[in-house]
Every structure is written in C-alpha cells, then in structure tokens.
Symmetry: C3
Subunit: 139 residues, 3 copies
C-alpha cells in the first residue's frame, strides 16, 4: 500500500471557466504505478470546485447558467462588506460544489464512464492560476 | 492495510428515481472483513449522483422537487444542440450532486446515523441499469 | 500505512449555524503523526453537511441566504406528513451538500488554501450536539 501525491497547475479565465482535468489525472495515475485504490482530487482555495460532467461545449454553458441561476453575480453579497473584492458569488458557488472528488481506481484505470470527465470550475471573478492536488492511494 | 473493490448493479426508472444502497453496501463491508477504514461509493456515468438522506417516501418526493426546481426538465439546455437526447437537466443535476461519497468505517460499521441512508439518484430521462463501485480500504 | 480515527463533538444552534472545524481537525492530524495521506471528515446524521469556505461573517450570512433560497424553510415539505417535525428543509439541504469531505495531507499539513476553512453547517431546526468523525489515513 502506498501513496503518491502530485500537484497540477491549471490556468483559468475565472467567471465559471471549466477545465477538463482528466488527461492529466490519468497520466499521473499511470505514473504512480498504482493499479487498485483511489484517486482524490482537491482544488486549493475557496472560489473553485471539482466535479464530473460529459465535457462538451453545450453542457459547459448549461453548468455556467445553472450556477448563475443558483448564485447570481449581480446579487448583493455580505462578503462584499468584508473584502470589497466583488466575488461573493464565487465563494458561495464554490462552497456548494465543494473542493474534493474521490474516484476509485481498478486495474490501473479510474472507474469513470466513457462520457464522464473530471472538471475544475473556477468561480472567481478574475483569471487565476489554480493548484490542484492529486493523491493516489493503493497498491 | 488492504483494499477490496466491489461492483453493485441497480436498476432504476430514471427521472430522479432514488434507490437505497445501504443494505448492499453494508453487506459488502461485512464481506471485506475490514473493521477500520473507509468506504468510497462511486456511480459510473454522468447522469446520476450519490448522497445520504433519511430514506422515507416524503423526503424522496422532496428531493425530487428540489432538483426539479434547481434544474427544471422543461428548460432549453445547450446540451440538446450537441446530442438531441433530451437529458440536459439530468447532466447538470448530476454534476451538482457529484458521483462519489466517502464514509468512515469503525468497528466494522459505517458511521452513518440511524436515519441516514446512502442513496443513488438517477437523474437520466430513461430507465437505466446503473453500475456502482464500492471500495473498502483499511484493516 | 496506518489509520487514526477521531470523534469531534460540536454544539450548534441549528438553523444553518456554521462552525469552523479547522483548528480541531488540524490538531488531531498533528496528533496522528501522519505526514502524507488524507483526512476524511464526516458528519453523522441527515440534517447537516460539510464543506469549505473563507470563514468570515459576511460569507457565513451569504451561505445561509443561499440555502434559504435553494430550499426555503416556509415551503410545504412532504417529509412533514411522515414525521411532523418541521425540518423538511433541513433534510433536503443536507442531502444536497452531503456529509463528507476529503482533504489531502502533505508534509503533515492539510492542503487547504490560506483563506479556506472546513465548516460544519447544521441545517436542523433546533440546537444540536453534533458528532463528527475524522479519519486520517496515510504514513
């Protein structure tokens, strides 16, 4: 039983920019040599989240519209009174989606469906360079 | 320290059909012989999700109404332009809820509350045979 | 490779009371002696959830308003017909947010951002004494 930790850097445009992390996660799982276990993906920071989706342009827009409906950018957020950085909507969206995702690994492969990709959603109101931690645990 | 992986098949009616996975997960944890560790449950595919709930008919309906409100079936989804399969609402609901759930195991038992069951929600717009991966890790 | 399990008790006022669990989780990870691995936090029960946020009073209120909008307290919930305990809104909010959170540990530290704290949200409609399970796994 072993643990391998990796860091992945991803540049985003913020504002609900959605990036497919699957190829890089897959490559690092291959590198780990772990055949049976799990991969935990975690995004550092409080204005981004991780989930899975069928990564195609239509659903990318649908997800962006979903989060705009749930927590609109134009609403008055109390966070504004604390920091005046205009990203209250980014924070509450990120808290709702959460920063981590765990995926089983069997026979050296994540158990994702064929049309199921791992995505980062950057909810912040500016371009960011995001740090993602990937931990592969198993044997 | 060891890992035991299992597959669970569940037939659903789609359209927010909610299934209680607790008995089968519990049985497989017993089978694993692992007394201290964690169980990770993961649903393969991009139109279903996992969480916990007090599994009773009222809350099953309440959750169905919650997701209908968050991402209504009748809305126009951009996903439709890509695939024409009418299940944009299924995808965005699934991405919001996420496909995995991790539960600690102590003294051979999951640390669930008495009225806390593990559920699969199938958001797709058709009956499905769902594959769930359960991974028990520990000693 | 080892596992250390801890229980954390937290008193809350219910009604979306939000508590910062970070200092106590950090202290127990230190105690575990695990330097590389992961921490899984899990709240027992079906009316509370866990996530991360920049823990400041403005965002605490913003999150409370977000959940009030998603699943208002005043709506008629079918759960009411089963139990008459008036907390249908608590249950559906908790199912949406989910009870678990997994955070990587590297060099003995969780990989949280500087302004990213672990929070418990108690959605119930009464004060509660909450039990949280923390499991640290690694080496």
């Amino acid at each position: 039983m072993k643990i391998k930790s990796y860091k992945i850097s991803v540049g985003t445009n913020g504002f609900c920019d959605i990036k497919d992390l699957t190829p890089e996660v897959r490559e690092k799982i291959d590198h780990s040599g772990i055949r049976e276990g799990q991969a935990t993906v975690f995004v550092v920071g409080s204005t981004a989240g991780l989930t899975t989706v069928e990564y195609e342009p239509g659903l990318v827009r649908d997800l962006q519209e979903l989060f705009e409906k749930i927590a609109p950018q134009g609403k008055d957020y109390h966070h504004e009174k604390t920091w005046h950085d205009g990203n209250g909507f980014s924070h509450v969206r990120a808290s709702l989606l959460k920063p981590s995702l765990t995926i089983p690994v069997m026979d050296g492969q994540m158990t994702l469906g064929t049309w199921q990709q791992i995505i980062l959603i950057d909810f912040d109101n500016t371009a960011r360079n995001r740090e993602i931690v990937l931990q592969v645990m198993g044997e």
